[in-house]
């Protein structure tokens, strides 16, 4: 009995089920418990085996005896339910159909913390799949008991209860509201300070799933006074705690400017930027998106991001990350920062990110999403950029649709600034502009004309292509004056 391991089981699953099923009804309680444990391990390993458990009609028997037996049996039975329910929504639906939810909820009221943990885990795996199953779990009355479980002293139980609440509230705003109405937020917020890293992961994930649905829910999460405590979680050693903490801050910041303002005032932007700097890979992604959301709301917030030294960090992310979706997120965030006013565009342009963005847009290896996002970012920054040294490289290697904007910006800035005009001539920009071919009457031609109007005619003619040829032609056709 005790030596039953999974690797030993060959393809005769159905045979195994029919062997184990009568053992569940045995008189000796130890045999029942061990049979249940074996079933659980089998179902945990493979979803075919789990389906075989369901088809073998074992679940009703388990559910019936769950109500009556001692705690070891309850734990084993809850383990079986969890193992079956985790594979797919259909199997979870089968568990719900045989009435297991009520018995699991009764197990949540048990005195033994191990039983509570097993029951909460099973409920969590069931509720994870989709919104209907979550609704079924909520309708069975699990949420208040889960909130009570969170207050228990055992850390493992707290972890599992928090993860179950997170799975329930992630599907829809109504489910999140149900969790909030049971008073979960206050308890979750208290436990952010706990030293256990896995518990913090689950708590932060639960809070972020609650806050992501609507402004009211996000405000309720904020009212639980998580700031500035959450910022300490950004400095945790565990990577997933950092990721979940930045996810939570992102979900709060994305709703309204007032919430973003609150986060900025609490110094959250600096903490997130430091966190982005210290992680690598996918862990950075929520932090980058949070900066983008904050900057997108208004220009004052974007300026706050800039003075917190966010732009150099984002350009580092853009250049050194290998994955395309993280680069796309960094490009989007930079575009949101730089699009408001010339000051903002200048702050982005001085860090030399524009050539990087251009190269990402032009390279054929970037994914489509990355190309689209970098193009949008370049466009929105260029339309406000008046920092000419950053614009000049664009004259040389930009595609025509971006070149139009660059030349437009030059035509706006040059008529008013004499030093810039001089620099433009000496750096060879005027020569390049003359070489651009544009259709007469198009916007590009108008911009070129307005640039040419800034300079005296001889200089324009001097730099126009083929000027040396016309000069030589004049030499050829000149009649020397012979005395």
């Amino acid at each position: 009995m005790h030596a039953l391991t999974v690797d030993w089981i060959p393809n005769g699953q159905i045979g195994v089920m029919s062997l184990l099923r009568p053992l569940l009804l045995d008189v000796v309680p130890t045999i029942q418990q061990t049979a249940a444990l074996a079933l659980g391990r089998l179902a945990n390993y493979n979803d075919d085996l789990a389906e075989a458990v369901v088809k073998g009609d074992i679940l009703p028997q388990l559910v019936y005896s769950l109500a009556e037996q001692n705690r070891f049996y309850k734990k084993a039975a809850a383990f079986v339910l969890r193992a079956v329910g985790k594979h797919s929504p259909q199997l979870a639906q089968a568990i719900v159909d045989c009435g297991a939810l009520d018995t699991l909820v009764i197990c949540l009221e048990d005195f033994d913390p191990g039983v509570k943990e097993a029951a909460a885990w099973a409920l969590g795996y069931i509720a994870r799949h989709n919104a209907e199953l979550s609704q079924a779990v909520v309708d069975a009355g699990a949420v208040p008991l889960l909130v009570l479980c969170i207050q228990e002293p055992e850390i493992a139980l707290k972890r599992i209860a928090a993860s179950t609440l997170s799975d329930i509230s992630k599907h829809s705003p109504e489910l999140a509201q149900t969790v909030v109405d049971a008073g979960a937020i206050a308890h979750l917020a208290q436990m952010i300070l706990s030293p256990d890293a896995k518990l913090k992961r689950q708590i932060l994930s639960a809070l972020s799933q609650i806050a992501k649905h609507s402004v009211d829910l996000a405000e309720m999460v904020v009212e639980a006074e998580i700031f500035p405590v959450v910022l300490t979680c950004l400095k945790d050693k565990d990577d997933y705690v950092k990721k979940n903490a930045s996810t939570l801050i992102r979900e709060i910041a994305k709703h309204t400017p007032e919430l973003a303002q609150l986060i900025v005032n609490a110094g959250g932007v600096a903490a997130v930027i430091d966190c982005v700097g210290s992680c690598r890979g996918n862990i950075r992604l929520p932090g980058i998106m949070m900066l983008g959301y904050v900057a997108a709301h208004s220009e004052n917030l974007a300026m706050a991001v800039i003075i917190s030294k966010g732009v150099p960090q984002l350009s580092i992310c853009l250049s050194e990350e290998p994955e395309d979706h993280i680069k796309a997120a960094a490009a989007w965030a930079l575009g949101q920062i730089g699009r408001h006013t010339p000051e903002h565009a200048r702050a982005v342009a001085v860090t030399n990110t524009l050539p990087v963005l251009l190269s990402l847009y032009m390279s054929p290896e970037s994914s489509e999403d990355l190309q689209v996002k970098s193009k949008k970012a370049i466009k929105s920054i260029l339309q406000k950029c008046t920092y000419l040294p950053a614009l000049e490289p664009f004259l040389y290697d930009a595609p025509p649709n971006i070149l139009k904007h660059v030349v437009g910006q030059f035509s706006k800035v040059l008529p008013h600034d004499s030093k810039a005009r001089r620099l433009f001539v000496t750096s060879g920009g005027l020569k390049k502009v003359q070489e651009i071919k544009a259709e007469p009457g198009s916007l590009l031609q108008e911009y070129i004309n307005s640039i040419n109007n800034c300079y005296p005619e001889e200089i324009v003619r001097y730099y126009s292509p083929g000027y040396s040829d016309t000069l030589l032609q004049r030499v050829d056709s000149y009649q020397p004056i012979i005395n």
Binding site: E154, A271, M303
Partner: protein, 362 residues
């Protein structure tokens, strides 16, 4: 007759002469008449022309005066208009000056306060620095704690090892393995072994069967149970050297409860006390303290003191006379009853909207 003949001969002459003289006179008269008419017409013409000249002069004067009047009116009108325009221009300019200053002030104070924005951004960067410092400190503290915990764990492990290997300690005769005679100083493990207390095998604990019956579920709940033992575990106190008795025995003797003899169990005036107690009990049951007096006039000299309840100068107290639900229509001020259903008021519909947005950065 001659005269007749002469007259008749002269009659045609007379007639001719008459006609001739008449015609001459007539012609003369005609000429004179014409002349007179001419003179008269000329004179009349002169007179009329003079009159017309006169009329022209008068008319000119009238027209001159009328035209001057009109012109002056026009001029006054033009001057008025010019004056009005000049005034309005001045007012407009002044209004523009005021509006310019007001608009600048309004934008700078309410819509976009540049200095406030700069101040705000500076405050943000300060907060950021503070938070960064605090987080650095926090991370450092955590690291220190972790290191300390690791060190302590290692120390504990080494201590445990030393306790287990206590038998390797060197004695006077035989030096232990950590105390080789060829070394200058003994190995640190030697010192540790000297300090360690030897490990004793734990006595097998008597397993208590914890019953999980429903009746003592309070005891089983892990959060709320505390150790259920009658005797608390003893404090690790060193026994003082000398002929002292066992401490527990002394305590038992000291706090032995009193066991009085039968004689001391009851007080000596028990009977009297019991009688008084009986009297007190019966007294409490009486309605009237003064029991029946011997003669009816015994208490007629007493003045009647009305009770406080009925002797207020504002009318009698309503306790006992009036009921809570009774109504006295004579005392009502108006004939309408209280409103039991009040119209609702919205308390929170204007929440957040009444506050002004002055000076906020959004």
């Amino acid at each position: 007759m001659a005269t007749l003949a002469r007259l008749q001969a002269r009659s045609s002459f007379v007639g001719k002469q008459y006609y001739y003289r008449n015609s001459v006179v007539d012609q003369f008269r005609k000429k004179e008449n014409d002349a007179a008419v001419k003179i008269q017409s000329w004179f009349r013409g002169c007179r009329v022309r003079a009159y017309i000249r006169y009329l022209h002069r008068i008319t000119t004067i009238i027209q001159k005066w009328w035209r001057s009047y009109l012109g002056k009116k026009e001029f006054r009108h033009v001057v008025q208009v010019a004056h009005y325009t000049m005034k309005m221009n001045l007012y407009n300019e002044m209004a523009v000056k005021i509006q310019r200053r007001w608009r600048g002030y309004k934008i700078r104070k309410y819509c976009f306060n540049y200095y406030y924005l700069k101040e705000y951004l500076r405050a943000i960067s300060e907060t950021n620095d503070a938070i960064r410092e605090a987080l650095e400190e926090f991370a450092e503290m955590k690291e220190r704690e972790e290191k300390k915990a690791n060190l302590e764990k290692e120390e504990k492990q080494r201590d445990y090892q030393a306790r287990k290997m206590h038998y390797l300690l060197s004695t006077k005769q035989i030096p232990g393995i950590y105390n080789s005679p060829f070394r200058q100083a003994p190995d640190p493990w030697e010192l540790r072994l000297q300090k360690a207390k030897p490990l004793i095998h734990p006595r097998p604990k008597v397993r208590q069967e914890c019953s999980t019956s429903l009746s003592d579920w309070l005891a089983c709940t892990s959060a709320r149970s505390f150790p259920r033992s009658d005797i608390l575990p003893p404090i690790n106190k060193k026994k003082c050297q000398g002929p002292f008795r066992d401490f527990n025995e002394v305590l038992e003797q000291r706090y032995k409860p009193l066991e009085p003899t039968l004689r001391v169990a009851e007080p000596i005036n028990q009977l009297k006390l019991a009688r008084e107690e009986l009297k007190r009990e019966e007294c409490a049951q009486n309605v009237n303290d003064k029991m029946f007096f011997p003669f009816s006039s015994y208490h007629k000299k007493e003045k009647y003191t009305p009770s406080i309840h009925s002797s207020s100068k504002y009318g009698s107290d309503s306790y006992g006379e009036k009921q809570f639900r009774s109504e006295n229509p004579k005392k009502w001020i108006c004939d309408k009853d209280f409103q039991t259903v009040l119209p609702s008021f919205d308390l929170f519909s204007k929440y957040g909207k009444l506050y002004s947005r002055a000076g906020q950065i959004v």
